[in-house]
Structure formats: structure tokens, C-alpha cells
Amino acid sequence: MPQINQLAENWYFASQLFWLALIFGAVFVVIGLGMYPKIEATVDARDRKIADDLAAAKAAHASADGLEEQYRQQSDLSRAAAQAAVQDAKDKAARDAEKRLAKVDAELADKLAAAEADVSAARKSAMAEIEAVAAEAAGDLVAKLSGVKVAAADAKQAVKAVLHG
């Protein structure tokens, strides 16, 4: 077995030890201490980035849900407001129509009353004229038939009595 036989050689163990110390030392310093931490840092950074991105995505999802909820509430609110406004407008329009109708009714009634008053005044004046004319005519008739001069007031009285029975 050369591994044991060569132990007797002067150079064997010293060379093995020297080169192992040199090369494994270099491997430890260059690869273990130099390269390994950088590679691990890259992996850690990637893991952190993935975790952060996932958290950000989750937060964005939650905020989107919140926004949607808010939007729905807002839209419900504005729909209710719109309905209320429509109802108000309807009510107001109805009230306005009623008021205008009442006003027009009152105006018409006033006009009617005025017209009726006019008609009755006209009738009264017409009656008075008819009385006057009839009294004159009656006085003239009496004078012509009997030659008796009747006083205008008496004629008027008589006519009035006949007309109004």
C-alpha cells in the first residue's frame, strides 16, 4: 500500500502537508471567504426580492379590493342621491303644477265674478233705462189719450209697479 510505504520517504508527508495547506488554504480564502458569501448574498437578495414582490402584490390586491368596495359604496350612494333628486324634482313639479292650477282657477273665478257683475250692472242700467223710457212713453200715451198731464215721477212709479209686479 503506497499510502503507508511512502510514509518512510523523507519528502512524502512534508510535501503532502505543504501542498494541502497551501492549496486548501487558498481554496478556503478565495472560494470559501471570497466567492461563497457573494453567491449566498445573491441568493438571499433574490429571496428577499421575491418575498417583497409577493408582499407588494398582496398589498396591491388588498388595496384593489378596498377601492372596488369604496367604488361600490360610492356608486350606491350616488344612485340613491340621484333617485332622491328625481323624486324631489317630481314632487316639486307636482306642487308647482298644483299651485299654478290653483292660481289659474282663482283668476278664472275672479274673471267670472267680474263678468257676472258686469252683466248684472248692465242689466240694471238697462232696466233703469227701460223704466225711464217706459215712464216717458206711458206719460206720452196718457197725455195723448186723455190729455191729462201726468207727472214724470208718478209715471215712473206706475211703470216700476207694473215692471216689478
Binding site: 500500500m1 503506497p2 519528502w11 502537508l17 486548501f24 481554496v27
Partner: protein
């Protein structure tokens, strides 16, 4: 080892060949060896592999994904075995795992087809033993640094009845002290045994070519089929042994950090 001992020696592959003498210190000579060359190759290939993972993109490419797979594998092993404090020791365990893995796999590659003779560095207990002692030393330093003499309570498991302590503590102590040996020997034995097996079966194929078609063909074909299976198994063993080394190191560090 075989009928023609001079011609075929399955252990020869483990011989470390000296290439050039560098210097001598304290009566010992230090040479550039084949072992050093293969360690260096493993380290350079490992460095190139890791370099592909240094693009640091947010969306990783295939290579970066592979490198991050390895780092994630070790860091999750450390955090499950030790907890958040295990991050401090991850660079060491990661270097250990990757270095052993690349040495194991590099020893499996059939470079011999190109005239190069690969040496599985981790099939030498002078290498695995030193790595095991290094892990054990880290456990001791961390244990005594964090807990002082209280670290010795490691030898008394929780809930041990008082009268049992004189018996349990020595057993725990021995099992603790055996750790560096078992850690180092496990990898060395697994690598050595696997490569001996591969060499023996490969030799069967070569030898069967001289035995005539009647015997040689069935033996050669059967050996080839076994070779394919064993090669796959050895690739698995190369990964598993590197994992076991790193896993046990992390468990031992956990003992030192958390004291059971």
C-alpha cells in the same frame, strides 16, 4: 496481487511520484508531486466552476443555478444541523465539501486514456487525516472558546443518571476522540477500495483478451458490464463521501456550538 505481480499491481495507482524538489526545511524535503498537481487541478477547476456562479444575476443562468445549488445545499445543511449560528462556519464546510468532491471526481476521470495517470488525492490518509484533524481542531477551539471548561459536559449526555456518569463519560470521551480517525479513515478507505475494485475489474478485461474467445469473451463482457456499474457506483461514492465528511464536520461543530 495477481499472478503476474510485476506486471499488474492495483495499488500502484496510489503512488505519489515526486516531480521536482522545491526546498528543504527542518530536515524534510518538500517536492512538487503528482499529488500536488492533482490537488492544484481540483482547486483550479473548482475555482473556474465557482467563477461561473459569480455573475450574480437576479434570474440565474444554468451555470449560476448549478453553483447556487451547491452553496444552497451546504448552507441549508448547516442551518438545519447547527441553526442560524452555523452561517459562520459555512465557508469552511463549503470549501471542505467542494474540495473533497472535486478531488474525488477528478480521480475518477479516465485521464489515463490520454496518457495522464490520475491520482485520487483523497485516497491518501495523509490528506484526509489532515483535513479531519483540521475539522477536529476547529471543534475543539470553538468548543473551548464558547463554553470554556463547561465544554467537558459534552461527555455527559442529558438525563444521564448520576451513578452512570463514571461509565458513560469515558465511553463518550473515547467516542469523541475517535472522531478525527473515523472521519479521515472513512474517506481514505472508500476512495482506495473503490479504485482498487475499478483497477481489478479493468484488469480482468485486459487479461480476458488473452484467454481465447470461449472464456475471454464472456468474462470480458461481464467484467465490462460490472465496470460500468461500479464506475457509476464510484461516482455516487465520490459525492456521498464528500457529503458525509461535510455532514459529520457540521454535526461535530454543532456539538461544539450547542453542546448537545
Amino acid at each position: 496481487m495477481s499472478a503476474e505481480a510485476g506486471k499488474f499491481d492495483p495499488m500502484h495507482q496510489f503512488t505519489v511520484e515526486p516531480i521536482a524538489k522545491l526546498f528543504a526545511a527542518g530536515g524534510r524535503e518538500v517536492w512538487l508531486t503528482t499529488s500536488a498537481v492533482w490537488m492544484l487541478a481540483a482547486a483550479v477547476i473548482l475555482w473556474l466552476f465557482m467563477l461561473g456562479g459569480m455573475k450574480r444575476q437576479l434570474v440565474p443562468g444554468r451555470w449560476q443555478m448549478a453553483v447556487e445549488g451547491f452553496t444552497g445545499f451546504i448552507s441549508s445543511m448547516m442551518s438545519t444541523n447547527i441553526g442560524p449560528e452555523g452561517r459562520k462556519y459555512t465557508p469552511y464546510v463549503f470549501s471542505l465539501f467542494m474540495f473533497i468532491l472535486f478531488c474525488n471526481i477528478l480521480g475518477m476521470v479516465p485521464f489515463a486514456l490520454g496518457g495522464l495517470h490520475p491520482l485520487t488525492v483523497t485516497s491518501h490518509f495523509t490528506i484526509t487525516g489532515v483535513l479531519a484533524v483540521l475539522s477536529f481542531a476547529i471543534v475543539l477551539v470553538v468548543g473551548f472558546w464558547r463554553h470554556g471548561l463547561h465544554f467537558f459536559s459534552l461527555f455527559v449526555p442529558h438525563g444521564t443518571p448520576w451513578p452512570m456518569i463514571p461509565f458513560i463519560a469515558p465511553i463518550e470521551f473515547v467516542s469523541f476522540m475517535v472522531r478525527p480517525f473515523s472521519l479521515g479513515l472513512r474517506l481514505f478507505v472508500a476512495m482506495t477500495a473503490g479504485h482498487v475494485l475499478l483497477e481489478v475489474f479493468a484488469n480482468f478485461i485486459v487479461q480476458s483478451s488473452g484467454a481465447g474467445a470461449a472464456i475471454g469473451l464472456p468474462v470480458g463482457i461481464a467484467s465490462m458490464a460490472l465496470m460500468i456499474g461500479i464506475s457509476a457506483l464510484e461516482l455516487l461514492v465520490a459525492g456521498i463521501q464528500a457529503y458525509v465528511f461535510a455532514l459529520l464536520t457540521s454535526l461535530y461543530i454543532n456539538d461544539a456550538v450547542n453542546l448537545h
